[in-house]
Amino acid sequence: MKIVLNGEARDVAATDLAGLLTECGFSGRVATSLNEEFVPAGLRAAQTLTDGDRVEVVAPMQGG
């Protein structure tokens, strides 16, 4: 399936958001959005992916 992950086109095997995080090696404190909508951690496994989805995975960073 072709998705856009953090702005980059990717071809992935995962069919849900939780699986995508595992496949792409994300762990620890991250938050996710799908097509610009927040997806809480508890709903990632139930969140299926479809072709063309835009996924954002963010983590703590320096800020002012």
Partner: protein, 257 residues
């Protein structure tokens, strides 16, 4: 005694940003040496190497209060979504709400700010709005559920100090019971002290420390400044006057001429 920030009393009046330091070690030392009690942080795309996790561990080890921001957001939707992500990642209801309206000055878009503040407050967030010194906007933010106001001193990163002390003083007078924080624009310890002398409850700064030649020394200087300014305000300072008034008693002066 300081005012409560959503039920939390700050250990001291210095909120320090975590961006732009020469190295993580210097960032860490700036916090430890100054004793700043609040760290602002943000969310950015996580890389494959998990840089965010390393950063988070360092912040967690500092044992400070964490205030995530919505820096860089230009729309209500973007800011609200970012706030939700921050609440989950940082496990806090606190959010420094930034809604940028102008590219060059990074001036807050106060119209969207009020709207986003209302949405987030209704959703249980404890909003720290980065705003202008406008009194009516301040009122609207309080009506929207904010219990803290954070007017700018000057544009972010400009180091200009307090551009409008008249308006900041008016804000203090208008909202005597609301915790007020000067957020952004501080360049020197004297700016931070001046904010506290106006009766503000805290100062939030980042660039002035992070980009100083010696960030650790500047962080300590900023802490000394906010504490000095706070003590000055609480000590009920004298009014300025135009002409001299002798401090040494005239009575009893020896006749020598």
């Amino acid at each position: 005694m300081g005012k409560s920030f959503y039920g939390v009393e700050l250990p001291n009046p210095l909120m320090l940003g975590t961006a732009q330091y020469p190295s993580p070690a210097i960032l860490e030392e700036a916090f430890r040496a100054s004793g700043a009690g609040v760290a602002t942080v943000s969310l950015r795309r996580e890389g494959a190497g998990g840089a965010g996790q390393t950063f988070w561990q360092m912040i967690a080890d500092l044992d400070v209060l964490v205030l995530p921001n919505t820096a860089g957001c230009h729309t209500v939707k973007e800011a609200v979504t970012t706030a939700h992500m921050a609440r989950e990642v940082f496990d806090t209801k606190w959010i420094k709400l930034e809604l940028i309206g102008h590219t060059d000055s990074l001036q807050p878009d106060v119209f969207q700010l009020v709207e986003a503040a209302r949405i987030l407050s209704e959703d249980g967030f404890e909003v720290f709005p980065y705003t202008t010194e406008d009194l009516i906007v301040g009122e609207r933010l309080l009506e929207a559920g904010c219990e803290v106001l954070m007017p700018w001193g000057a544009p972010i990163g400009s180091g200009r100090g307090l551009n409008n002390t008249y308006a900041l003083r008016a804000m203090r007078a208008e909202f005597p019971d609301v915790p007020l924080v000067v957020d952004a624009g501080i360049g020197l310890p004297s700016h931070a002290a001046a904010a506290m002398e106006l009766g503000f409850d805290a100062v939030l700064l980042n660039t002035a420390v992070a980009k100083a030649g010696d960030p650790v020394a500047m962080a300590k200087g900023m802490m000394a400044a906010v504490e000095a300014g706070q003590m000055g305000f609480e000590a009920d300072p004298i009014e300025a006057r135009d002409m001299a008034e002798a401090s040494t008693p005239v009575i009893g002066k020896a006749f020598l001429s």
